[in-house]
Symmetry: C2
Subunit: 575 residues, 2 copies
């Protein structure tokens, strides 16, 4: 019997609520977005007492479904001002599901200046004084909690950036080795957690795969079939397990859509120096790992463990992070990338947002392009809360406004990820229209635009991108609710048995009779709820646009602009 754990910091008070019927079939993003829509006034101050932070495991999390350990964090975003779901791996989602927790809700705001911790286990949940953890980086907090509560605990925490309510602050949790680097990074939900003055949530569960399943045999068969589907696909079975997401660096560079020097160029001459191939070589040579799973039961194992020259370990370096601290800043040095990544993880900032911000500050001349030492020194100011540190922690849009920069790659106030919208136009459509702000995971058109997965659509032409992004956004909203890693989509898009097998797992787990249409209808419903929240929050079609420079500045080497029509953008989620 699953329940909702509701923590009201204004009292403070911890209680378990039964799950209302209308939430029974929801999980992950579907649940966080619905609860935020139902409970949070859309016009509220995101850092005020009326906002809430909702954390929910996916529907399949905690079962034997492969790669199903994803967790959603949701709330009104202080970065975008709209609704936000930020999705992460790590070990905590499975533990929450095994404890029968459908969602954690942090609400209200304490009047005092203390810091709270939450401890959750089989016996229940309780608040504790986390004053001794305040001000500490996520690595130390996670290590201390594993020391105090056992090495198997899941530790959801924020860094000093979240405590200081910086708009680019993320929420992290740990991988099986205790690395506190699995981030629900985007949209500043770490600042919302900080505004509630909750430093850490420790989740202790004796089991990982024992979430209740209605028909165990059927489930097991479907899960096995789904594993095979993943392992048989070249991306999920071969590419990702070999080099992780970093396999994309050379591919995206070759495609000419690798944003370089703050989205000035589409190729970087030192891309190979920060590629997956290079990473694997260096990591293994230093005793690290080229492949690694962020949670038990993942067959793709796209993560890595990168030992740094100073003895610290950065785990993992994702493609997006390697891009934003590499080509985006004209830095072709994996050790510099790892340093910047490590600092972000520890202080508690979203790497993509921070990389975009550093790019904007380089555009403004505050830091020289290509200067890794200067970038590291600037980023280190975040933890010291200097004015520059505050600007960096506030994200790319704020940095751009503070420095009068017009070349700011952000939509709805959120920095843009690692695919230039002028030469990967399907992603451009997603960046413009997803309720999340510029987000690659919301509708990853790199599939058909670049990788030839799920069809092939010319990335340089506007034709076909609307339909592509629309379908991907719907499917993604559903996958983000399942607890499955979005990367399963590579296989699902190419294998007609993919989606039906997911549905089989859901039906076996919950004793349902869903069809694939039901799952896609869920995706559409999630998007409708999110769009409507944003409309109430003040968003309009004018917010579903890319920054001006993408429409007038040609991107080498293909010399294309973003030329998808505004009127077409307005049709993407118009359902």
């Amino acid at each position: 019997m699953s329940r909702i754990l509701r923590i009201n910091l204004a009292v403070p008070d911890v209680k378990y609520d039964d799950v209302p019927d209308q939430y029974a079939a929801l999980g992950g993003r579907a649940l966080t977005s619905q609860m935020v829509s139902d409970e949070v006034p859309a016009t509220c101050d995101p850092l005020g007492s009326l906002n809430k932070l909702v954390i929910a495991p996916g529907l399949l999390s905690g079962t034997g479904a492969p790669s199903s350990g994803r967790m959603s964090a949701g709330g009104k975003s202080p970065l975008t001002g709209g609704i936000k779901e930020s999705n992460t791996g790590g070990i905590t989602s499975q533990k929450l599901a095994n404890l029968g927790i459908k969602a954690i809700v942090l609400e209200g705001k304490p009047s005092g200046n203390g810091w709270y911790g939450v401890k959750i286990n089989n016996s229940g949940a309780e608040l504790f004084d986390a004053g001794d953890l305040a001000g500490k980086g996520t690595y130390e907090v996670t290590a201390l909690c594993r020391e105090r509560y056992g090495s198997k605990v899941g530790v959801i925490t924020i860094g000093p950036a979240g405590e200081m309510m910086m708009l680019a602050a993320g929420i992290t949790n740990n991988d099986p080795d205790g690395n506190s680097s699995r981030y629900a990074g985007r949209g500043g939900l770490g600042a919302v957690m900080g505004s509630k003055r909750v430093k850490v949530i420790v989740v202790d569960s004796p089991s990982t795969f024992d979430a209740p399943v209605n028909d165990k045999e059927k489930f097991k068969a479907a899960a096995k079939k789904f594993s095979k589907i993943l392992l048989d696909h070249p991306v999920t079975g071969t590419g990702l397990p070999a080099y992780g997401t970093e396999i994309l660096m050379n591919i995206i560079n070759e495609a000419g859509t690798l944003p370089t020097r703050n989205f000035k160029f589409g190729r970087f001459d030192r891309a190979s120096e920060v590629s997956g191939e290079k990473l694997a070589e260096v990591a293994v040579a230093r005793g690290g790992k080229a492949t690694h799973a962020c949670h038990p039961g993942c067959v793709m194992r796209c993560s890595n463990v990168y030992p740094m020259p100073d003895g610290k370990v950065c785990a993992p370096i994702e493609y997006e992070t390697a891009w934003c601290f590499g080509p985006n800043l004209e830095i072709g040095d994996l050790d510099v990338v790892a340093s910047l990544n490590y600092i972000c993880n520890d202080v508690g900032l979203d790497t993509i947002e921070t990389g975009c911000t550093l790019g904007v500050l380089m555009e403004a001349g505050v830091i020289p392009f290509g200067d890794g030492s200067a970038a590291v020194a600037a980023l280190e100011e975040v933890g010291r809360a200097t004015p520059l540190g505050r600007i960096i922690g506030s994200g790319s849009a704020i940095a751009g406004r503070a420095y009068g920069v017009t070349r700011v790659p952000a939509v709805k106030g959120q920095g843009m990820p690692a695919y230039d919208p002028r030469s990967c136009k399907g992603n451009g459509v997603t960046y413009a229209t997803t309720p999340m702000g510029a987000d690659h995971t919301a509708g990853y058109a790199v599939t058909a635009n670049i990788l030839g997965v799920g069809g092939k659509i010319d990335p340089l032409l506007p034709e076909g991108q609307i339909e592509l992004s629309k379908n991907l956004q719907i499917a993604t909203a559903a996958v983000d609710s399942s607890g499955l890693c979005l990367f399963v989509a590579f296989a699902v898009l190419d294998n007609p048995d993919g989606l039906p097998t997911i549905v089989e797992m859901l039906n076996a787990q919950y004793g349902l009779n869903l069809t694939t249409d039901d799952v896609l209808a869920l995706g559409m419903q999630v998007l409708r709820v999110e769009r409507e929240f944003n409309r109430r929050a003040g968003f309009s079609q004018a917010d579903d646009r890319l920054p001006e420079f993408f429409k007038v500045e040609k991107l080498p080497p293909h010399d294309t602009i973003f030329d998808v029509k505004d009127s077409d953008l307005d049709t993407v989620l118009n359902f």
Copy 2:
């Protein structure tokens, strides 16, 4: 025959256009807003090449109408993201009108990094290299231009803040004594001028009151009558000429609506130390002036000249400025106020915005409340473009976001002026609903709420405020188009002959047969155009709201909250 001076910086190129018929009867705000609406894409980047800066004298400017030397600057605001008209005194409006210039339009953006000046006189207009003026404060630039082009010139300029495209940068011009302190301060239009890389516009006209008038006798008679109306009213004839706007300090404090300590309290125990009475005493004792006209022909002479201890002169110290650097920061020292005012004038920042920003930074603990030296030191960083200086120059909303502050007194990104909306609810309605962002001049309900001018409506109750603000916003939009100082409204609201006499002047000047209804219809039309621009720019009803804390935090001494209903706010400009 009046013309439009169009300066395209992309070429660069200067030309005179004939005035299209549809603009013939427009001036000031009516003209700038209409031209911005017609020529600027609402969704454009305010600092990009598609935005334009339009500067226009009012309809009556350059004639013998009393107090008619107001000038409008318009464009898309980089601070609010919406349309902006910022209105200023000074001597330039009359000169432009006497040169037959209906409007100056700065458009396009140069590709280079040089700085331009524009010189306008009887023979025409030309661009010049202003490289030697770049980086200089407005006082020095104005002095140099008066030295080079004669002491009678009007000098429109921006300070380093505008050059650096800071969002709170204003555009200034000089008073008859050459003080460069008459600011079109609000909304960051100085950054727009900076984005065009125009440092200065020098306006040289041999005459001040010789703008063409159709029926000189009729005009003279109407102007004389209007002078008498102004002189007979206690505010425009006695109060303002004695103490200027600073007469309000003790009155607003007594009313309990003087925002103190970043809008925490409604009274300040040292208000009298920064009041008009005190200012007059100190100014006169030091050889300054308690009363002074910002442009020739003003009968209200609400300005002042305040000699500072270091020998510099701050002229004038307005009530809004004395408030934002005084009570708002818990500083009860006129010399500190004058220092902060002087720095803003010189570096080129809007004082109200900057005062709000310092209040937010004090709320964040960056500067201690009441610490004048720390405030001065922080403000001095603006000119040095340090990160803190950049934050201060970006205005209160950005500062609030950079520091995670929820008590930020701003609407549509613009800082709130000197009347707390919880105990002057008519002004609260104006702040929430005017297309300009929080602005006291857009619909100054202090009249009926506090001063008993134009009726009496209880400032503590929501009743009657909607209608009051609506009527004031309409009348203001008309007055802002006339070139008359808004302060004439005090007399006009109480004297039934007021508005008809303005109409008589307009009819005599232009050979028209307008009625008072036509003038109010013009005001409504201006507001419609501005609202529609903002709608296209992405604004919705959600933007017509006050910050959350005004609705939940009671303001002493009256212990009221802002309780005008959202649904009522949505009716204010719904015509």
